[in-house]
Symmetry: D5
Subunit: 147 residues, 10 copies
């Protein structure tokens, strides 16, 4: 058994029961972004969270323990994603990558925007020309220091 | 001569004159994100914009014409970026890619978030524990339709 | 269980029963192109469509639910396809890619031809020198906008 | 000197003179698709065509000779194209590849749609919801034969 | 069940029964090259051929049906083959590829040698310095045409 | 200076003078296949051959010396060739590779068909349904031996 | 001109003058590890540091400005390094990577060891069986947080 | 059965029993770094160590024998690791690789830092600004010699 | 069943019985290098050899038949091996490859050292500074010939 | 200027003067294998050796200094070499890699054969069936140790 087995079980149960990530997240008491990432095998739950998820998805004790083990992260199966929705994000990094780099350095100097001390918020913006997906990414700036 | 030559000239002049993208964008009259992307060879300027940039960067008429030609886009030189700042964005797509996919589909159904009818806004959020980089991505939702 | 299992079951039943995609599509009431793509795990069916397919392919309720979940898309197993028929399409993109880019930009300006708001029609054209495969691709033009 | 040098010269002259591919094709007397592909280094011109192009783009005799040499074809610089417009075509092959394969085989049996005995026609279709790019691909069906 | 399962069964039976491809081909009534390729999952048999093979390899009705379905072709598992015998062919393409291209174009003009309207004949040539493998490849020349 | 410079010079002169490989080979006194491969930088000439080629292509003494140095072989710039003519050969290896392996082993046992003690003959076969390219490959069989 | 040109100039001068990185670092007043990384185009200097380096390596004002621009980082030219010394480090990551992951998570929980808030110290340890290279890597632990 | 099966069993038991690598190592009597690497399938145990591990993880005699067989090493499944923690190490090699090379050569001359005669020590350093991960790598210097 | 299954069985039995390759080879009556390569699925045994191995490893008749089938060769699972011992050999080819090429050509002219008419002998050389692995590779020189 | 420029100059002079590596090595006073590797940019010379080579190849003082700088090693331009002679070595590693691993471990235990404390000797063995290339590789065995 490994974390991947648990992830597959969660997804299978979700489909057969017709659950929504937003409701799962509400029961766990955290954002839908973080909880979904965790259920998809990218984040680590604590014991109480694992128990809640165990009740929702019918996970036994051993499966709940796997949710508390730090997983080997990375949800893409190829270096360049093939799924159109995920590819669009890769395209944004490809087309705008140097722009993002230039503007963050112009404002903050040398360093990076953290992908660890990081949060994400996905919302719908109503728009008569077609609703929009708005995604707010927020990461702490971490400067390179001299030594 | 090609667009790449013009991009390299723009960057060289920017460094030697110590210009800021924000000021360049203000003169062009558009967002710093879009103007920087254009100066880095990813977007297409119209004649008036090209003239403004020509004045800023000392571009001759032929070079200004290249700014008005749709470029072959893509700013990364490798499938997986090596620069730490840009890599963090690739990592976000890698770790959160399936999460983003799940949540957008849960809210909107099958389709994608457009990377074309798209805008981006990069801002600094002051924070006593270390300032944060906030990036708002906004893309129109495009549904797959049956036919 | 996942979507791929359902796809394999559909294909297996299709072979053993000797079904034709065109007939399957007629029962679903949509084009053969879209229905085939959906049966091959690339599109999302609604409940009524899934029920129809369930009757045709002997899918149980859980399998029908999987047909209604947005799949992780991408039908090729390698970056460059090895199958001669599919490779010819990759070759067309490789040989004519920059031509297509130039001519669309010449007519429409900077932007893309959508692969989402998109439809395809495959027909046979009788020809004494050998029948031809005609494929009409139709995608909405999506312009890049300044912001 | 090689064919690539001639291609680059053609593109450079096109930009500085502001020529359109459609007009170039009209002077050569063939479709805009084939002539553009040839000017971009993918097709072979005969002597008369090369002379016409020589007059348009200011090519000397040696450069005209290169237009008559069969080129090493392939216009993409990476296995997966990075340009958003060209990528959308790669995506179509990726998402619909197996569908195209199934439907052509269902109609014609084992074989391929030729990318050599092939033509392409790119047109604009006016549409109140946004104009569409229509592309008609027509290739002779070539059956595998037993021996 | 898929075509690959049938291929593996054929190979397993061939080894355990000690069959020879040449004899299998004689029973099918076609060349050993085409029949072997078909048994290895690269070609499509008709119903009568499938029945003959079913008798030889003990294939049930469903397995015989799979032999009549056009397969996803491509017999190599890596872009550059690792097996020394097959690699030597890749090496011939690598070392002589541009030579073959030059000489076919010199004789025929722009176009290709078909790999579909194609046949192959492998024979042994006795030679006192060591017998030789002679392979005759014959493909129809398909010219690019203007349009 | 290196061998590649000499190859490029030979090709450039060939185009500007309108030479044919067959005539070049006749002057060297060897097959067109081997001489073309040598001129394209894949084979090694002796002093007399280099002198003959020097006269044809206007190569100085140093350039003639480079023709006598064993080159770093390999004429493809990518693992999978992008040129349609050369790709067809790669496709033959891909589709028929395991077939070739099976049949050579059935006839000769374990070993390879040499790509070194090897010759190739490319000829045109007239055919009312379209002329054919016939290519005869002949390589010594080299058996693996036990030790 | 770009940062790479400056890096190459620095290296060329260093070789022709026979300078040592340790002495360069002493003049800059920082560790040899950080200064060397900066001279090799991986870190960003301030104006005073750039002036010092300008004096050492004979860099003009524009070249000094490039030292103050945040570079596109990444010093390897291939995904897997070919140089034996650098490869050994890649091997350590390959062989010990999951071990490092397990032990850091066991001690700190889910998160990473920063490669930005990071320092490195390379020293020689005398050893009668052969001197040892000791490298101390020190990076702040950054925990993933829930949100 | 192979070494990988044993590794997976060890990990599964560790999770279900909630063991710590540090405690496992203490029982084996060696460093936590080496023992963890061994349990993860990268090092070779002797009979006594295998017996100890057998008692801890409930391994039968055959499984214990596998722990004594030299494994095929390499713990990453992709050339560039996708897990953020392990990637940071790859990034260090990428950003600092040439720096490490320069400084070791400056001190020791041509040669490498051994990854075989090598040890690693991972410790926590308390720090009010956030605790740090300190990793000491120690490898014998191996000089290239002339011959 | 395929050759790989037999290879895995041989390895499993070898570990559980604690056999040595040297002893296996002695029973087969050939060198340890060739026999080991065969047992690892790279060489083809004759019936008598297969029977001997069948007795040693408990292989049934069908498994013995697989040992007599020419395998698809290639023992590495990645283009660049990850195992440190095997990688060192790849490194030798990488660092010394052009040297080996130059020296063999200097002595023999254009051609190759055969990897088929080839043998290998691995021995231990006692050395007070640490024993050495000596490997003698012997391959017939095969010259390229003109034709 | 960099080491590669010096390597290219050495090769160019060698061809134009018709020098032999064996004679160059004799003047340097070391083996032909090591000296050739150094001239091809893989090894580091001392001042006296560089002076000798300077006299042979007409290298100025700065070029001689580059010969004394440790180079970035790796002589192949692709992960899998395309040159037939060098490829045969890659094939040996591919076919015999696991055999070499097994036999060295059987004799020496866990560890590697050094590619640093290493020497190579290439000789011709006369043989009536065709002369052989014999290559003796000798590397110190380096054991993994526990800690």
């Amino acid at each position: 058994m490994n974390r991947n087995d648990v992830t597959e079980k969660i997804i299978t149960v979700k489909v057969s029961k017709g659950l929504k990530w937003e409701d799962v997240a509400a029961k766990v008491g955290l954002s839908k972004e973080w909880v979904t990432a965790g259920c998809l095998g990218q984040m680590t739950f604590d014991a109480a969270q694992a128990k809640t998820l165990g009740a929702i998805f019918g996970l036994n004790e051993e499966e709940q323990k796997w949710l508390q083990v730090v997983p080997y992260k990375g949800s893409l199966t190829t270096a360049v994603p093939t799924d159109p929705l995920i590819y669009r994000w890769y395209e944004i990094v490809n087309v705008y990558g140097t722009t993002i780099k230039e503007l963050i350095h112009e404002e903050f100097g040398d360093g990076i925007m953290s992908a660890i001390d990081f949060k994400m918020d996905i919302t719908r913006e109503a728009d008569p020309k077609g609703d929009r997906v708005n995604v707010l990414l927020s990461g702490k700036f971490l400067p390179y220091k001299t030594y």
